[in-house]
């Protein structure tokens, strides 16, 4: 029985090694550094943690066939200098990691980053899974085609997409950093603490705005001109950090958390 169990655990370890590969990129000063992720298809959330390495694991990694011994894969998008289909380019303060594997091969990466890094994410429109990002203490910028879900970011949040949902939840508005959410067709859903302090501007050209906060817009009770009907400016708890939401065709939801 003992032999059987140790054989099983060996097999799991071997299969784990075969099916995922991990790289670690050290970051000497995370607070002064910026990480750009370009066209990385992710599994799970891109998550900040209390450490000083960028850790990227590729799921379902298949090593090169025997015929490719002593050869390296070649990708149209760039040079793989990691062995897992990524190109890493480091300058003094900016680390750029580009996904090279074509989307048809469904590459998937699990990513953890030092929580103090400034993070910029750019996704092409082949990535139609929801992008999750959470637990960062610095600024986040995302440019995506589809849904983006953001939780527990303490720095500035700049997110833009074309379709799906932009879903942002802030634990606190006790911060000096702006939030800007821009979309074509997505629904934009923002959750703020019940006693949030914020200066909010919501502008939906062809959509509607909904909220469960008790809101008195500045022009309540006054005659509104047609030009101003679609831009709503308000202050929660007499104002605070700026939150700007701009949507072309989708609806905007402002929720009390």
């Amino acid at each position: 029985m003992k032999k059987f169990l140790s054989l099983i655990s060996c097999a799991i370890t071997v299969s784990t090694v075969l099916h995922s590969q991990e790289i670690k990129i050290p970051v000497s000063n995370a607070k002064a550094a910026r990480l750009m992720l370009v066209n990385l298809y992710t599994t799970g959330a891109i998550e900040g943690y209390d450490g000083n390495e960028i850790i990227i694991a590729r799921e379902n990694f298949k090593p090169s066939p025997e015929r490719a011994k002593n050869m390296t894969p070649i990708y149209a998008a760039g040079n793989d200098n990691t062995g897992i289909g990524l190109n890493v380019d480091k300058t003094e303060s900016v680390i750029t990691i580009t996904g090279l594997v074509p989307h048809q091969q469904h590459p998937r990466y699990h990513i953890r980053v030092p929580q103090w890094l400034m993070l910029s994410i750019q996704c092409d429109c082949f990535m139609n899974d929801t992008l999750f990002v959470k637990n960062l203490k610095n600024n986040l910028e995302v440019r995506a085609c589809y849904s983006v879900n953001v939780r527990n970011i303490e720095g500035a949040i700049l997110v833009s997409n074309s379709n799906g949902v932009i879903d942002v939840a802030l634990k606190t508005t006790d911060r000096d950093w702006p939030v800007s959410l821009v979309s074509f067709n997505a629904e934009i859903d923002v959750t703020l603490p019940a006693h949030a302090k914020a200066s909010i501007e919501m502008n939906s050209v062809n959509g509607n705005v909904y909220s469960d906060f008790k809101i008195n817009t500045p022009s309540a009770g006054k005659e509104k001109t047609h030009e101003q009907a679609d831009k709503i400016k308000l202050q929660l708890s007499q104002g605070g950090p700026s939150i700007k939401i701009t949507n072309s065709s989708g609806d905007i939801y402002l929720r009390k958390g």
Partner: protein, 261 residues
Amino acid sequence: MTCHETEMLLPELIDGSLYAELEKQIKQHLSVCKDCATAHRQTVLLLSEMVAADTNQIPKESLKKTFYLDTLPLLQNSLPTTGSPYKSIKMFSFKNIAAAAFFTAVGLAAGLFLRPANQAPITVSSLRSELPEGKKMTSLAMLKNESAIERLKAVEYVEDMGEPSPAVIQALVTVLNSDNNLHVRVAAASLLENYADRRDVLDALVTSLRTQQEPMVQIIIMHILTEKKEHRARQPIRDILRNVGSDVEVKKIAKKSLAEL
């Protein structure tokens, strides 16, 4: 120590030129007042950028030549020929006073003529001017900041300034047309909408629509111009519709706008 007093003394605090007691009072205020602490951080950032931008540290060759040919002989002639030069220089001799006056004149001339032609002198003392003027300068400088977050904040500061001057409008239009960050451009477009009753703003928006490639910004500008019934927008909107590369959603909005115009 009030907020107004603190903000007026921020440049001196950063410069390290305050008396110890006053510095202590200001630091105490900064530890409890978030707004003033924010203003302090921003002033430090602005000053450090101004220092970093000042690369003209090395004197030009022409100044060196003037010094060796004209000034140095004068200096050498003013020194005593016997004994140690450091013992026998009389501070208030006619020659020393004349040399001092000469150096002052050379320094003033160098300051006037060596300054780059199109650059207004930015000094710490300029930040001591009235707060709205200081805020305007800070905003205009921040609109050129490397960080998109700071540029976004700059657009917000401009909004707080009230009716903007033509220079500020021009700065916003430049941001609208050429900033490399979508959020900053959208914020600039949204702010310009507040002043869309002004002729200069409408002119700028019509011109911008002719060259905009960013779909979201195209939509916002079309929306503003449609609301204002600006008929000059028709042609740029038709061009967007004809352009094969225009986004599908942009074309839908363009059709609607054209119908309303």
